[in-house]
């Protein structure tokens, strides 16, 4: 691994010294864990810091750090133990993270986090200037309970990309909020894999009576990035469409494979398709001038959706 640059090392060293100054010592392995470093690097950085201090650099003016075996003893004084001022990005991130957790339904508005945030805001001089609102779908509570008790569930789920409602047996793994929506990650027995279910699209949920211990669950992997609608895989169909240049915005967060400009300025796009209804939604929003070039079965499905919408609105 390449050696980190001086600025990264300085930031890490100051964090480590501050942390050490608040206690008398620590094991090298704990420092390595906390600051995500190799143990040998921890020792090297501490030995370097032990040579730092104030002029005339006599031993009484140097930082007192003694590495012995797998421990370091530290006596760094009260100044070093003080908390460093937060940068704008750090202050914002901390406030946003705390506000997000406090916005989770069921959070204690007078609990430890709320108290910590109040102290922090008064020290930073920022009084409640960030507000995070998370939605509370009806099935959020049951979904979180199901995860906590590892209880297998039978769910009725509406898939918007296919515009169909189905029943599935799932093993809940975790609940998370991304891009303002709540998701339930669960192993789906029908799909044979882990899927992200939008909690507000779960219409009903009931335990099957089975429990699925955490060790038996396949890894849920990382969260869906907040701006991606679905994750295409090899089985995902691909379509070619044309949309007017003015409708380029509909391609935000869409898994595009290629994009070319037509002679008249419109856009020819090859993209992975989440489902017939999903593609219809995209083209209908793009509006007049858009069409499915290929494959024909998706073109038919989009036309059927358009026709249904037209029939509901055309006035005889």
């Amino acid at each position: 691994m390449a050696r980190p640059t001086a600025d990264v090392r300085l930031r890490r060293l100051l964090a480590m010294l501050g942390w050490l100054a608040r206690r008398d010592g620590a094991s090298i392995s704990e420092l390595a864990d906390r600051f995500a470093m190799e143990e040998a690097d921890v020792v090297a950085e501490l030995e370097l810091a032990a040579c730092c201090g104030l002029p005339p650099y006599t031993p009484d003016q140097l930082m007192e750090l003694v590495v012995e075996g797998d421990r370091v003893e530290a006596n760094l004084g009260a100044e070093m133990a003080r908390t460093r001022r937060l940068s704008a990005a750090e202050g914002f991130t901390l406030a946003a993270a705390a506000r997000a957790i406090l916005a989770v339904p069921g959070a204690d508005p007078q609990g430890a986090l709320a108290r910590a945030l109040a102290k922090l805001e008064s020290a930073l001089g920022t009084r409640e200037q960030v507000s995070v609102q998370l939605d509370e779908p009806e099935m959020l509570g049951p979904a979180r309970d199901a995860v906590a008790s590892a209880a297998q569930q039978r769910i009725t789920y509406y898939s918007s990309s296919r515009d169909e409602t189905s029943e599935r047996v799932v093993d809940p793994q975790r609940v998370f909020s991304s891009g303002g929506r709540w998701y339930l990650d669960a192993y789906c027995h029908r799909a044979g894999g882990v899927r992200h279910f939008r909690v507000d699209r779960i219409e009903a949920m009931s335990p099957t009576g089975e429990t699925v211990p955490a060790d038996d669950r396949p890894d849920a992997g990382s969260a869906v990035p907040p701006d991606v609608v679905f994750e295409p895989d090899e089985g995902t169909p691909v379509a070619t469409i044309v949309i007017p240049a003015s409708a380029r915005w509909v391609l935000d967060a869409v898994p595009i494979r290629s994009l070319a400009e037509e002679r008249d300025g419109s856009l020819r796009v090859e993209l992975a398709v989440g489902g017939g209804a999903w593609l219809a939604r995209l083209l209908l929003r793009a509006g007049p001038g858009s069409r499915v070039v290929d494959p024909p079965e998706l073109a038919d499905e989009v036309a059927a959706h358009a026709r249904a919408l037209w029939e509901r609105h055309v006035t005889a």
């Binding site: 370097l48 460093r84 020290a123 200037q129 939604r281 919408l309």
Partner: protein, 308 residues
């Protein structure tokens, strides 16, 4: 000599300096600077830049008692935060929040380090969330704290705003404040702002005591903006009824039908956004009135339906 050693010594020396130190004094006190005048000036400027990137401001001030000498120091008050006095459970709660919520990963880790909360949390993570992050957000946050007006370009138009707060709703961040030109409370979606906002230097503002910026935003995007308002009624089928009601607010519901569908009354300002919202429900929503909006949607989808 390791550059980190020079940097650490420089920081300690400037932080404990009782009076500003000239560059000459610094290079004679802190080891490791090159000999040549230009080379050591360059090396010192580089160190200063690294410190600034860590949020550590090196001040340049006149040296007291000298005619024109300038010297450097770091103000301990700007380097340290006032003692937070966090109890152990409060410390742990912040640690958990930083572990559970992904905003700006690097800044989150640095904040955890500074607060002494680094490392895996010991308690269970009850919920996880990820919020989008952009470089503009900390700039607004800082401007709100300092009460300084900001200028930015939002959807092509230059705005001057006295920012009151940041709001995350329905997947997006908004900055809310007083628009100086319009002299009215406005909100702007931050991902629609180009680049990073600029602070208007030398100016400050006050937030009126009676302003409630958290509740000044209309709930639905199609009712935002300027222009005449049209009231539309929309029938939403059961599969989307709950989502639509959450988005519009329960006060928008004018009728609940026995099959689970709802009729919503909605103020529409932005027709494009309204049309897109109806389309999102792929045939599970119908505009009941007014006739112009029904006709607009029919005409919009007719070519794709093969009837245009």
């Amino acid at each position: 000599m390791d550059k980190l050693e020079r940097l650490t010594n420089l920081l300690l020396v400037l932080l404990s300096a009782e009076r500003p130190m000239t560059l000459d004094e610094i290079v004679h006190t802190v080891e490791g600077y090159p000999a040549g005048k230009d080379a050591r000036r360059q090396a010192f400027e580089r160190d200063k830049r690294i410190l600034r990137e860590q949020g550590i401001e090196v001040l340049l001030e006149p040296v007291p008692g000298s005619a024109d000498a300038q010297g450097y120091r770091i103000d301990p008050d700007s380097y340290y935060l006032a003692d937070l006095g966090l109890s152990d459970d409060e410390q742990e709660a912040l640690n958990l929040a930083l572990a559970a919520v992904r905003v700006d990963e690097e800044a989150g880790l640095d904040a955890a380090w500074k607060l002494g909360a680094a490392g895996p949390p010991s308690g269970p993570v009850v919920a996880q969330a990820s919020l989008p992050s952009t470089p503009a957000l900390p700039v607004f946050h800082e401007a709100i704290r300092k009460r300084t007006p900001v200028e930015f370009v939002h959807r092509g138009a230059r705005r001057r705003l006295e920012p009151y707060g940041l709001l995350f709703r329905d997947g997006f961040w908004y900055v809310v404040g007083r628009d100086r030109e319009r002299d009215a409370l406005r909100s702007f979606r931050i991902d629609r702002i180009s680049g990073v906002p600029e602070s208007v230097p030398g100016q400050t503002f006050t937030v009126p005591a009676d302003v409630d910026w958290r509740h000044t935003m209309p709930a639905e995007p199609w009712s935002m903006g300027e222009g005449p308002t049209t009231v539309a009624t929309v029938l939403v089928d059961p599969v989307y009824a709950r989502t639509a009601e959450v988005q519009s607010g329960s006060e928008a519901v004018s009728e609940r039908r026995s099959d689970g569908s709802v009729v919503l009354r909605l103020p529409v300002v932005n027709l494009d956004l309204f049309r897109s919202w109806v389309i999102e429900m792929v045939g599970h929503a119908e505009i009941l009135s007014p006739p112009e909006l029904r006709a607009d949607l029919a005409a919009w989808v007719a070519p794709l339906a093969g009837v245009g």
